[in-house]
Each structure stands twice: as structure tokens, then as C-alpha cells.
């Protein structure tokens, strides 16, 4: 779907590895997760809750909520608003997210 442009400082600074559906993607620290995933030609990045229709990022600025993805096990994150971090595991979201796993109770005061 997308690639670095010909005149970009291509090799320079591409030093982050994230995993999309277990496949590594080499990207820059300034990339958003959505941008990095688009480098890998993902086809689609989520299926909708209502009809399971395939969707992919649309606006890249945080207003369309199409880029919702599972990042490190937490679903419904706007991938275009999350900067990549080395080792991140990103997955497509499939319909309605599951209830997140056990978490600490609040009020640790």
C-alpha cells in the first residue's frame, strides 16, 4: 500500500522493529503504528463490530477511528496516534474486542 519515497533518507533512522500479525516491519521511531503497518501492505487492519467489514486507516489524523488495532494486547487503540516502539506486537482487530484480561484493582492509595 505505502512505501518510503524515493528521495527519503531511507536507510537512515529505520531502526525500530514492530510485528504485525507476527511479521516483522522495520520502521522509524517517528512513525505511527498505522503508518508502519501500511508499509507492509496489510490489505485491511480491522473488521467492524457491526458486519465484520474489512477496514483500513482513512484519515491518519485521529478523527476517523478506522485504524483501531490491537497493540500489545490492548484493543481499540487508534494506531495512527500511537508511536511505534521496538518489539511492539500489533494485530488486526476482529469485530468487537474481548474483555481485557485481569488487571490490578484501582485505589492503591
Amino acid at each position: 500500500m505505502f512505501r518510503r519515497h524515493d528521495k527519503s533518507s531511507q536507510a537512515k533512522g529505520d531502526n525500530v522493529t514492530i510485528y504485525f500479525e507476527d511479521v516483522p516491519i522495520i520502521c522509524k521511531p517517528t512513525d505511527s503504528v498505522a503508518a508502519a503497518v501500511l508499509l507492509s501492505d496489510p490489505g485491511y487492519t480491522r473488521r467492524t463490530p457491526v458486519t465484520k467489514a474489512p477496514r483500513a486507516p482513512y484519515c491518519m489524523m485521529g478523527t476517523c477511528f478506522e485504524c483501531l488495532m490491537d497493540i500489545n494486547g490492548v484493543e481499540n487503540q487508534q494506531a495512527c496516534m500511537v508511536p511505534v516502539r521496538d518489539g511492539m506486537k500489533v494485530r488486526r482487530q476482529n469485530g468487537v474486542p474481548i474483555l481485557p484480561g485481569d488487571s490490578k484493582e484501582p485505589g492503591n492509595d
Binding site: 501500511l38 474489512p54 483500513a56 476517523c64 484501582p106
Partner: protein, 466 residues
């Protein structure tokens, strides 16, 4: 922040940066909140990184983009407390703001607030617009700015508005394979409006530049089709072709990416959530906050600046930010009214050529996709509500956007109507035969962006002294 700041500025695009910097210069304590990791908003997205590390990308984006570096630098050098990565999710008329940074929710209070939340793309509800591979022209430009990326396969750009032409040219320059630019601008608008401008040289200058861009696009081998109608994206699971009609000719292009654009509209999520009054701007068919000549809204503590107040472009945004800052300084007793007014004079003069071309631009690039023709076209992307469902509900007597929301779930999804609010209003107006301004808009509720229950539960509400 334990004490209220003098000023909270929300948005670090040109309006927000300029407002924050100038306010700080006038000895106001300023908190600048922005959801991106770096300053620049959308128009100057990633400017600091690109200026230093991506000279080639800067060359493609041109001098107008590079201009933003100075705005960012001035703000960084000032005493502004700049908090990037801050997603504002609630604003109150008393100056309270709730926002989240790094998974923790905070509150802050300002004696005044300047909202500089900019613009977003008008929805483009054509058949197939929800297919993977269909994106906005702005999205492609953002990928260029933020990640030095461009579409790897065959691209068509379709729609109307200065950005459609600009992005086409920039992508060509970057090496993209653009099959065509399909302009939905009505030919009669081009010609009738070209005559419009009463002696404004800026307008003619703009037209000349526009013509030059079109020549450059054609010279690179990319055809431009005009007066395009019946635009449709097609594909199975992702976009594979785009169809349209130009003159008598049926057009079809096999593509991997379709970039659509129908102009930009003010981002009114924040102004509506806090309860400002809005007015309908008919030439470009959008809602904008009611404001005075300094940007003060119907809520006295809240000022708007930049495209969020009404589309006027990046340069005007900077000046509007400065005017808002001057007014804030005056209202907070840092400068006299006379000083405010005399400082404002050169700013208004400098702004004038940038706002003078607006009537021309607004008249030429009228929205193309306000009312989807087919009943199967999706209007609400989040909840997958079609134009037909909305028309049926209206015909059954459901009169307003909020009732439509209750009846069809249109507007209840995560985007809160950002991509369907205008379309719904146009559809209701169309079926009822009333002006869109009478129809109204969704009632927008907090949170402006989602926030976790855990963050809410753990928030320290005593951070702001009421």
C-alpha cells in the same frame, strides 16, 4: 499545575503555537496541550524532524511547509508549558480542562482557554468509500510529512479543493504513480468565480498559481478530468478500481489507492462539547463557532483561533492565534485596550491578503459530496448506517439529527459524528426540503476522545482548585 494558568491553549498547529508564544511574551502563564508527539498540527506535521532530518521531504512539501519551523521554534524558546501527547477529552466553561497523557488523566484550569483544534476533512460518502485503500488526500500528505511515505501502487486522486491538486503534485514529485486527477469541481464555478474578485490581486495571484499547478500535473503525464460525477470506489475487500463520469465519458481506473477530498471543515468537536453557539456557513456548507473579531465565542472564557473558527488557511491561522493572544492579554489585565488594538493593527493587515482570497476559493471549490445519491452508500462508517436507512427514518417522521441518532445509531460510534454529522444534516434537509441551517447538528457529549474507566477512577480532581 496547582494554580490555574492564565491561559490554556488546545492545539499546537499554527494558531495554537502563535497564540501560546505571543501570550507568553505578554507575561501570561500558558499551558499548551496537543495530542501529537511534536508541534505543528496537521499542516506543519512533523516539521521539527523534517527540517533537521528529511531535507528531501521538505523539498517536496515546499517553502510553505518549511515556514512552520519558525513557529515551532519560537514556542519552544518561550516560557510556554508545552505538553505533547495530551489528548483533551473534556472542557468546561469555567476554564477546566481534562486530558490524558501516557495513560493517566489529569485536570487543569485556565482563566481563559484558546481552542485551536483546526480542521478535518469533509466526509466523502461515495459508494465504496469504506474500502481499505480509500483514504483522504490529507491522509496521504500526512503520511508524507510524518513518515516520508507515499502510496506504492497506482493512485487516483478524486474530488475538489486546493489540497487535491497540491497533494497530486507533491505525490508526483515524490515518485508516486498517479493515474489521474478526477476533479469534481463544477466547471461553471471555476469560470464564474474567476471574475468575482473585486480587485484583489491576491486572488488573481492564487489563480495563476493554481493554473501553474495544473500545467505541472499535466506536464508530468497525469491527466486531469474535470466536472467529474458519479464517483464510485469498487473492490472486493479492498479498493481495486474507481469509476466516474466526465462530460459524456465513462471513466474507469484500476488502482491500489484512491485519495478522496472534498475540502476541509472546522473541527467543532471541542467547541460543541463545551457548548459554544455555532452558525452555518452556506458557501462551504459547514458549522463554525459564533465569534467576535478577536475569536471570543458565545462563552466568554473561550476563544477560537485558526481553521477551527472557520477555514482560512495556515497563514491566517497564525494571525488569528496572535489576535486571540492579544485579546487574552488585555482581558487578563496585562495590556491596555489601546495597546491591544495598536498591536493588532499590523496583524490584521498582514492577515488581509490571506483572508481576501477566501470568497474566491469558497466559491470555486463548493462541496461535491454532501448528499449521497444511492441508498446503499454508507453514511455512518462506525455503525454502518446507510443513506437509505436515514432517508427512511426521516420519511417516517424522525425530524432531527439527534433523533436520527437514537433511531439508527448513526453518530453513536467512536468518531462521534466527525465523519457523518454533516452528511446526516444534509440528508435530513434534503428529504424535508428545509435549509441545512435549520436542521442542526448532533449534540456532542464528553469525552471528546475516549478515556479509560481506570483513568477516570484514578484521576486527582483536586489538581484544579475550583
Amino acid at each position: 499545575m496547582t494554580e490555574p494558568a492564565d491561559l490554556i491553549v488546545i492545539g499546537a498547529g499554527p494558531a495554537g503555537l502563535a497564540a501560546a508564544s505571543l501570550a507568553s511574551k505578554h507575561n501570561l502563564s500558558v499551558l499548551l496541550l496537543d495530542e501529537q508527539a511534536a508541534p505543528g498540527g496537521q499542516i506543519y506535521r512533523n516539521i521539527e524532524h523534517n527540517i533537521t532530518h528529511e531535507s528531501e521531504t521538505c523539498a517536496i512539501l515546499g517553502a510553505e511547509y518549511a515556514y512552520g519551523a519558525a513557529l515551532a521554534e519560537t514556542c519552544r524558546a518561550s516560557d510556554v508549558t508545552y505538553t505533547p501527547g495530551a489528548t483533551v477529552w473534556r472542557i468546561d466553561p469555567d476554564g477546566s480542562v481534562a486530558y490524558s497523557v501516557n495513560g493517566a488523566a489529569h485536570t487543569a484550569k485556565g482563566r481563559r482557554i484558546i481552542l485551536a483544534t483546526g480542521a478535518l476533512e469533509r466526509p466523502v460518502p461515495i459508494p465504496g468509500w469504506t474500502l481499505p485503500g480509500v483514504m483522504t488526500a490529507g491522509a496521504a500528505q500526512t503520511l508524507l510529512k510524518a513518515s516520508a511515505m507515499l502510496p506504492s501502487g497506482r493512485v487516483v486522486v478524486a474530488g475538489t479543493g486546493p489540497l487535491a491538486m497540491l497533494v497530486t503534485l507533491q505525490l508526483i514529485d515524490a515518485g508516486a504513480d498517479i493515474a489521474a486527477l478526477l476533479e469534481t469541481t463544477r466547471k461553471r464555478d471555476y469560470f464564474s468565480n474567476a471574475m468575482l474578485l473585486p480587485g484583489a490581486m491576491a486572488g488573481q495571484d492564487y489563480l495563476r498559481r493554481g493554473m501553474a499547478m495544473r500545467r505541472a500535473i499535466r506536464a508530468s503525464g497525469v491527466p486531469i478530468y474535470g466536472g467529474v460525477t458519479e464517483l464510485e470506489a469498487r473492490g472486493d475487500g479492498q479498493v481495486s478500481s474507481v469509476r466516474g463520469r466526465s462530460g459524456g465519458e465513462r471513466l474507469t481506473f484500476e488502482i491500489d489507492t484512491l485519495l478522496v477530498h472534498d475540502g476541509v471543515v472546522p473541527n467543532i468537536q471541542a467547541t460543541r462539547q463545551v457548548g459554544c453557539e455555532h452558525e452555518w456557513y452556506e458557501p462551504q456548507r459547514y458549522w463554525r463557532p459564533v465569534r467576535d473579531s478577536w475569536g471570543t465565542t458565545s462563552i466568554d472564557t473561550i476563544t477560537v483561533a485558526g481553521d477551527g473558527a472557520g477555514i482560512s488557511g495556515a497563514r491566517a491561522a497564525e494571525y488569528l492565534g496572535q489576535l486571540a493572544a492579544l485579546d487574552a492579554a488585555y482581558r487578563l489585565d496585562k495590556i491596555s485596550m489601546a495597546d491591544r488594538d495598536s498591536a493588532a493593527r499590523p496583524i490584521r493587515s498582514a492577515m488581509q491578503p490571506h483572508t481576501a482570497i477566501r470568497p474566491l476559493l469558497d466559491g470555486v471549490f463548493t462541496p461535491s459530496f454532501t448528499t449521497p445519491h444511492g441508498d446503499d452508500t454508507i453514511v455512518c462508517r462506525c455503525e454502518e448506517v446507510t443513506a437509505g436507512e436515514i432517508r427512511t427514518a426521516v420519511a417516517q417522521g424522525v425530524m432531527g439529527p439527534n433523533q436520527i441518532k437514537s433511531f439508527t445509531r448513526c453518530g453513536m460510534g467512536p468518531c462521534q459524528g466527525r465523519n457523518c454529522g454533516l452528511t446526516v444534516a444534509e440528508l435530513i434537509a434534503d428529504v424535508q426540503g428545509v435549509p441545512v441551517s435549520d436542521v442542526g447538528y448532533f449534540r456532542l457529549r464528553p469525552p471528546i476522545k475516549p478515556v479509560t474507566l481506570g483513568e477516570l477512577a484514578a484521576m486527582d480532581l483536586s489538581e484544579t482548585d475550583s
